[in-house]
């Protein structure tokens, strides 16, 4: 296929456009290219329709859960989820109690990670409801592939994924409380700075940092280079909750905006995604998402979790200890592929230490069956080889919930690794959703 022969061209263009991914290691910032593989993941229309139903259902339930947790707490009253999984979670922010965000949407952009098992079933690996990144990579890759190999896209009818910016803008417009929409970046040294600038450009909205924003008289304003102030109604913020507002969260944050949270509490600006979402994408809460779907929507979950055990429950702890070698253990507080260990990869003494830790802090870990998921072909030095890959689907919630007809497919470059996170040095593919 012509497209595959142009892989190097596309990668060279990606490098030129600055499609990079930053990694902090030992407190220093390294930026590296995000290697692109030209063989797309292909999902046919029928299969995508199934994923779409399942993803919408899941994200709708998660949004209802967030609204409930920060307000009436009926799911706690009805004892569907034990209280300590909420209040002991680092993602739960008491400061968000009693807030109903504009449009009642908490997770406007949800990045849901899935894998296709060898049994032909899709499994949800995790929900990312805070600041999920990655949509820009397949967007720009598609753009460059279409340019370098236009005939490919004449021959195959692939759903256009370049509409992502429009979908995102519609969500932001829907929750906008009056005024500008902006993309708020922590700055040049953020891991996903390329994405912040690309999405701002594609949506034709200002890309701002903390010092461009200011609160005055109950509203948020954008100050332009001439000192003129214009009211802001929606902030697509790519800065974490912790650093958002030094008056409410970490007081040492220099990249936040003082009092932005106060005007948000008053309903005078939309923050996208809403602060406090971490309570719903905690790896411990993941276990309860199918129960949320049943509780809030009175429906059977369409998409399944990977089989998961909570050592918090005695029965599950026993199972985990008996099947330790066949499980993967995850620290609920960690993300980006950190804090993940495979039972069978530990030495005897490591295992002993880990089990001691597990017993003293059972709430801190989940255990999962290792899913044997499908390999996807990638090109390595012109040869096709098989590697582990996952899919991050993007679900957008505004007036309605829609699933973007594409997604970020990440693969591990190491043939022995199951961890595909870009922060662990993996590469990416475009995801084609066929029109038929």
């Amino acid at each position: 296929m012509e497209l595959f022969e142009r892989t190097e061209v596309v990668n060279a263009l990606l490098a030129r456009y600055g499609v990079k991914f930053g990694i902090y290691k030992n407190n220093t910032f390294h930026e590296q290219l995000f290697p692109f593989d030209a063989i797309p993941r292909v999902i046919d229309a029928h299969e995508f329709a199934y994923l779409e139903r399942g993803l919408k259902q899941r994200v709708d339930a998660l949004n209802l859960f967030l609204l409930d947790i920060y307000n009436k707490k009926h799911i706690l009253r009805d004892k569907v989820i034990p209280e300590e999984f909420i209040y002991a979670s680092s993602g739960y922010l008491a400061q968000c109690e009693g807030v109903t965000p504009p449009g009642s949407v908490y997770s406007h952009i949800s990045g849901i990670d899935l894998v296709l098992g060898k049994d032909g079933e899709w499994y949800i690996l995790e929900d990312n409801l805070r600041v999920p990144s990655g949509a820009s990579y397949p967007m720009i890759a598609r753009e460059l592939c279409r340019r370098s190999s236009p005939r490919t896209f004449q021959a195959v009818s692939v759903a256009d994924n370049r509409s992502y910016a429009d979908l995102l803008k519609q969500v932001l417009d829907h929750v906008n409380t009056g005024g500008l929409t902006v993309v708020f970046t922590p700055g040049r040294y953020n891991a996903a700075y390329f994405e912040h600038s690309y999405l701002a450009e594609k949506m034709r909205v200002p890309l701002v940092t903390g010092s461009d924003l200011e609160v005055e008289n109950d509203h948020l304003y954008f100050k332009d280079y001439s000192g003129r102030k214009e009211q802001v109604g929606a902030v697509y913020r790519r800065i974490s909750d912790d650093f958002l507002d030094p008056m409410t969260f970490r007081p040492e944050s220099l990249i936040g905006v003082p009092h932005i949270f106060d005007v948000y509490r008053k309903g005078n600006v939309a923050l996208v995604n809403a602060p406090g979402n971490g309570v719903a994408d905690d790896k411990g809460i993941y276990y309860f998402v199918p129960k949320m779907i049943e509780y809030y929507l009175k429906q059977e979950p369409i998409l399944h979790n990977a089989p998961t055990y909570l050592p918090y429950y005695e029965k599950d702890m026993r199972y985990v200890l008996e099947h330790f070698d066949s499980l993967v253990l995850k620290d609920v507080a960690e993300a980006g592929g950190y804090g993940v260990v495979f039972g069978n990869s530990m030495s005897a003494s490591q295992k002993e230490d880990f089990i001691r830790l597990l017993k003293s802090e059972p709430r801190r870990f989940i255990a999962q069956e290792v899913i044997d998921f499908c390999d996807l072909p990638i090109l390595e030095k012109g040869e096709k080889v098989e590697r582990k890959a996952d899919l991050r689907a993007f679900v957008l919630s505004g007036a309605e919930t829609v699933v973007w007809k594409s997604g970020l497919t990440r693969f591990s470059r190491n043939p022995d690794s199951f961890i595909v996170n870009s922060s662990q040095g993996g590469g990416f593919k475009d995801t084609w959703v066929l029109n038929q």
Binding site: A88, P246, P258, D262
Partner: protein
Amino acid sequence: MKTLRFCYDLKIEFSSPVTHHSFTVKCVARSDERQQVLQQEIRILPKEYLSENQDAFGNCYIFGRTDTEHTLFSVAASGVVRTGLADSTAEGDTYRQGVYLAQTAYTKPGPALGKLFEDLRGPGPEDALKAGRRYMEGLRSRFAYVSGSTDITTTAEEALTQGRGVCQDYSHILLSLCRQAGIPCRYVVGMLIGEGASHAWVEVFHEGRWYGLDPTNNTDVCEDHIKLSHGRDYSDCLLNQGVFTGFAGQKQSVSVQVWEKEPE
């Protein structure tokens, strides 16, 4: 029942001029079943704008900013409050109080608090208020009030280990004990009759109502207390917070006076 007058004065002096000063002030008394605010005035200087809001715990606060260069920032609050109208305040459902049950960075027990809890814990089941009072009583012989012996970063475990502290430490220790016993409880900032600084105490959740316990004085909260705010611990009830631009040292002084108003 008493009618109390209060004056709360906060001054921050900067060693050189600062600007772009954003601040949040949480020293607004609110009427509830226990106290009725008859009159209240708050003056903040300098300021370009001020705004009022309610926080996640239901406290009233004032926020604002000033871009004017200044070397002195001051908050002066004064008012008249009728106190002692009830011994407690009603609250909604028990299942919604879980946020006050989780230990925080300030109240998290270590060996000292764990042992104290074992020493003081009751022989059988008892109600939350009785338990809270017994923990408070138990603290009397085990902890001493020594002003200046701790600072605002001291945790309950650290304070208990050294055996000395101020009202903030008494309150954090009592919170830690109650939470170990599964009793929802919260940190309260307010003022006590007399002259001095602001005061802190604890409220425990008992049969749908919040009851005040003042562990520093080993007493139930009474008509001598004016409440300003509550939260999980000290950090939710900061009387004053700020960020500013400038390279300056700062000196903060607080003076609080509460006295009984002569009947008219």
